[in-house]
């Protein structure tokens, strides 16, 4: 197969775009696409200070690399979860993230959950009964809390995450199966900041296929953690992604159009803002000051206090 741009040997074929590219042209094309969507959805500009949440995985490290190459001012935030799973998952992902940042001279903020909150994620989940089978709920709550706190404390204009199109399409699929109206109302490439202290958030990779992100990491020579978090196994998101990829195999572009048509339908007023049960104003947590939907303590503080 030939590269559509230079006629050389193609290494990546993107059926949904009817496009095949060689390594050199692909490494140029993908960041251009990301830049295009940053502008299209008005995520942030070159004068903004950006904080990228990085896990050591292919998506977040590639995102950081791309934003840095595009000339944005972007720092990284790594959250140490204290997950081992027999493969030293947290240690290894931290090592790779630090290596990545050092090689590029980028600033990385590291927050270790066991150091700051006295307990690793699996232990926290175990004790609070909230993670009977999996610590993911506790983990997600903790990550969102820390990301928002660091983004606000550090005076960043926007917090970005490495969610790719497959992540977004899978989330949309799950939210649609449950008609999770609150989530459907909020699902968008960028979320505005809200008082008190809810940081602005953006997903610059929301229209890039997961497979292309892996190809980018590989062709760029980014060393990322290949092993999954041990708790990701059997997760619903993986199941939904597989279903979507089955459709994609028969009908290239199926998952892209599922997501993009949703965005268009929303722009045309498919979901009324008040369908979001959390649409009313937010309150400041009485303990940590971070936003919460009900007056009093936020869910994170209630959870960590229970631990102490």
């Amino acid at each position: 197969m030939k590269c559509n741009q230079c006629g050389g040997k193609a290494v990546v074929q993107m059926r949904q775009h009817k496009l095949a590219l060689c390594a050199k042209d692909f490494l140029q094309w993908l960041p251009d696409q990301v830049e295009r969507f940053i502008k299209k959805y008005k995520m942030f500009t070159h004068s903004d200070r950006v904080l990228a949440a990085v896990s050591g995985g292919k998506d977040s490290l590639s995102l950081w690399d791309i934003l840095w190459r595009l000339g944005y001012s972007v720092d990284g935030l790594y959250i140490g979860l204290g997950i081992d799973g027999g493969i030293g998952y947290s240690d290894e992902s931290r090592r790779l993230t630090e290596k990545f940042a050092n090689e590029r001279g980028l600033r990385l903020v590291v927050v270790s959950v066991p150091d700051v909150y006295g307990e690793a994620i699996p232990d926290m989940a175990h004790r609070t009964r909230r993670g009977k089978t999996k610590p993911c709920a506790v983990c997600g709550l903790t990550k969102r809390h820390i990301m928002n706190r660091i983004a606000c404390e550090g005076g960043y204009d926007v917090l970005v995450t490495g969610h790719n199109l497959d992540d977004e399409a899978a989330a949309l699929f799950g939210n649609t199966l449950n008609w999770a109206t609150g989530h459907l109302v909020r699902q968008w490439p960028v979320l505005e900041a809200r008082p008190p202290a809810l940081a602005r958030k953006a997903k610059p990779l929301c229209r890039i296929y997961e497979r292309e992100m892996a190809a980018y990491a590989m062709l760029r020579g980014i060393e990322y953690i290949y092993d999954e978090c041990p708790y990701a196994e059997g997760s619903k998101s993986i199941y939904y992604k597989e279903l979507l990829n089955r459709m994609e195999a028969d009908r290239p572009g199926a998952k892209l159009s599922f997501y993009v048509s949703f965005l268009q339908a929303k722009e045309n007023g498919l979901f009324a803002p008040h369908a979001d049960p959390n649409a009313e104003s937010l309150h400041a947590c009485t303990t940590c000051g971070q936003p919460t939907s009900a007056p009093g303590e936020c869910a994170f503080c209630r959870m960590t206090l229970k631990v102490k």
Binding site: A137, A232, S237, A249, T292
Partner: protein
Amino acid sequence: MSVKLTLRDKEFIVKPGMTLRDSLSKIDVLPEAVLATRQGEMITEDEILQDGDEIKLIAVISGGYEDDKTEAVLLGINGDEM
């Protein structure tokens, strides 16, 4: 006469002379879920696999990302907008 494909700790043997896409379908691996390399070089799906080829498949799908949210809802602890 065979082509060997590996994916994580799994190994598959297929006949030579098929395209990568057909080989993936034979071993029931979704083309969207992997990248294929031969001798360290990424190859496209139309590539015909030759006798003796060793193809390394790299899994590209990761999970857990949005699960935290879904589960948080189920557990009723997603009171926060974050």
